[in-house]
């Protein structure tokens, strides 16, 4: 499977990553290698094997539906780049 430069740009768009032009060829090669490895894995016969969603053969433990009231907003907002009036402030986004 060949990875094109446009694929790398698409992945970067989706992951909101900015890479330098000269890094594109590095990642193209690395991602190709990973895909080749996955292709190799796909050779294994998995016809009679059920897909596994989680490596641990256990089921999800459930929590009782009880609300705990705990307002740590001020503490959490100390970690935010910008906040005002209890809101987190982010660069303007409009659809």
């Amino acid at each position: 499977m060949t990875v094109k430069k446009s694929d790398i740009n698409h992945i970067c768009d989706l992951s909101k990553l900015r890479i330098d032009e000269n890094e594109i060829s590095i990642f193209t090669k690395q991602i190709s290698d990973i895909l080749n490895m996955i292709n190799e894995l796909e050779q294994a016969d998995t016809n009679n094997i059920k897909p596994m969603a989680h490596p641990m053969n256990m089921s999800q433990r459930l929590r009782k539906d009880e609300a705990i009231l705990n307002n740590d907003r001020d503490l959490f907002q100390e970690n935010a780049i910008d906040s005002e009036d209890g809101f987190y402030k982010v660069p303007k986004v409009i659809d």
Binding site: L14, Q60, E66, I68, R73, G86, F87
Partner: protein, 482 residues
């Protein structure tokens, strides 16, 4: 060319849980911004989601009510996209193996027949936070109180073929989740939202056309309007010989139009994969049977029972059962007042509902109990108060904390059903209006209404109208003989 409309709906139903789907933060609506967002909701590194038991139970309840299959094993997936109100960079949802699949529901359509709409799946997921764009001049404001609120997304097959059917289906599901008490269904607060997938195809064709997805529909009226607009838009494109673009569009209810959400196109690549933080949900037969036993009586069963058990007219039974809160009030009412079920239904639908509609409030906001209402009905039934007095008493009942007896006593609203007393008022009236009396006796029968009016006025509206009518006729005839 004739076109056929093909619609599938995705309904996002906020589950009536106390706490969030993966954290213990409260889900209460309208709290100060970001006071109900814990480390889990904020997507801090190192935290782990723990699934809410009640959310699972509610999803199963819905599944059973629409005759769906309940997955023995279902899994959560990450839906990856970037938006400021989604702090983790992914929404925990279900993709492969949803908890509920292959269901169906019957909806009433225009010619009073029923149509079966298949439900592809219903899956559990978390809601995102809220972005407010007009709060700050050069920034967007983010409130994450809603982040992590439990949602059930109900996806229909493209079985709906008109805006009316879409609205009918939406209302049916809305009614169902309210009956099941798995959601308050409050559309103003966003507890019940709809995305519509709409496409057109040449009439008779079996292939599906290219669809547009309309987001942001939050009322039964808007779902009709959005679909009608979109159908016309696509028809115009297709008749020009052009093709519809597959895209996400936003419904703007103020302008009544749908418009493209350009920025979402590129991002429609969600790269779902199983969430390694969450183990599979295993649902055993025991749990399913337990929930099955707890399923409440639903709309159709209620209507049927009201007609059979209480001999109520079908139209009234349907009207009462339409809203589960009204139905429950009715049942409490006739528990205390069992003289005449149809009378109770009439009173509820005309008097009480009339008051609610006039004041634009819901029955849940009423302070009046079914108990007190039954007292009032009993007084009407026994002719202690007249229908018009009952209206005044109802208003007082709602606005004060007094009992029916106290109100009647304090206001002197008791109906006069003592024939001697009524007789003496009538005699006074007949003596005071000799002209009208003689006009009646000479054959001008419409004057009777005037005389009855005078009697009622003199008794301050308290005389039993039926008795006034009878006694007046009797007394006026006596003048003929004089």
């Amino acid at each position: 060319m004739k076109w056929e409309t093909v619609i599938g709906l995705e309904l996002h139903v906020q589950l009536a849980c106390e706490s969030k789907i993966f954290s213990s933060s409260s889900t209460k609506y309208g709290m100060p911004q970001n006071t109900q967002a814990s480390l889990v909701d904020l997507g801090y590194p190192g935290v782990l989601p723990v699934l809410n038991h009640q959310a699972v139970v509610m999803a199963i309840k819905f599944g059973l009510a629409v005759d769906a299959e309940i997955a023995e094993k279902s899994i959560f997936a990450r839906k990856n996209y970037f938006y400021p109100d989604l702090p983790k960079g992914y929404q925990i949802s279900q993709y492969e193996l949803p908890i509920v699949f292959n269901g169906s529901i019957e909806i009433p359509i225009h010619n009073k027949s029923m149509k079966t709409i298949r439900i592809t799946r219903a899956h559990l997921e978390e809601d995102a936070g809220k972005s407010i764009h007009d709060k700050f001049h050069n920034a967007s404001a983010i409130d994450l109180n809603r982040a992590g609120t439990p949602l059930l997304e109900i996806v229909s097959e493209p079985d709906l073929s008109s805006s009316e059917e879409a609205s009918s289906y939406m209302q049916k599901i809305h009614q169902l989740v309210r009956y099941l008490k798995i959601s308050d269904g409050n559309m103003q607060e966003g507890s019940f939202r709809c995305d519509a997938n709409i496409s057109l195809r040449p009439l008779g064709s079996n292939d599906l056309g290219t669809r547009a997805e309309i987001k942001n529909i939050n009322s039964f009226k808007f779902v009709e309007k959005a679909i009608e607009f979109e159908v016309e838009r696509q028809k115009a494109i297709l008749e020009e010989g052009e093709s519809v673009i597959q895209e996400t569009r936003l419904y703007d209810s103020e302008k009544n139009e749908t418009r493209s959400m350009r920025s979402k196109e590129e991002a429609n690549d969600y790269r779902y994969f199983p969430d390694p933080d969450l183990l599979p949900i295993l649902v055993g037969k025991d749990l399913i049977n337990e929930i099955k036993k707890e399923l409440p009586e639903l709309f159709d069963q209620k209507v049927h029972r009201y007609i059979k058990q209480y001999s109520i007219r079908k139209v009234d039974a349907i009207e009462i059962a339409k809203n589960v809160d009204i139905a429950e009030f009715f049942e409490a009412l006739i528990h205390h007042f069992n003289e005449n079920y149809q009378q109770a239904a009439n009173w509820l639908l005309s008097e009480l509902m009339g008051y609610l509609n006039k004041e634009n409030i819901s029955i849940k906001d009423l302070t009046i109990t079914a108990d007190a209402s039954a007292d009032l009905l009993q007084k009407i039934h026994e002719n202690v108060v007249s229908a018009s007095m009952a209206k005044i008493i109802l208003k007082q009942l709602i606005e004060t904390n007094d009992s029916v007896d106290e109100i009647i006593e304090a206001q002197g609203l008791k109906q006069i059903s003592d024939s001697t007393q009524i007789e003496s008022i009538i005699m006074e009236v007949l003596e005071s209006f000799p002209d009208q009396r003689d006009q009646y006796l000479s054959g001008k029968e419409q004057v009777l209404g005037f005389l009855i009016g005078q009697v009622m006025k003199k008794s301050s509206g308290k005389a039993n109208p039926k008795m006034v009518n009878e006694i007046l006729l009797e007394k006026i005839e006596e003048y003929r003989r004089i």
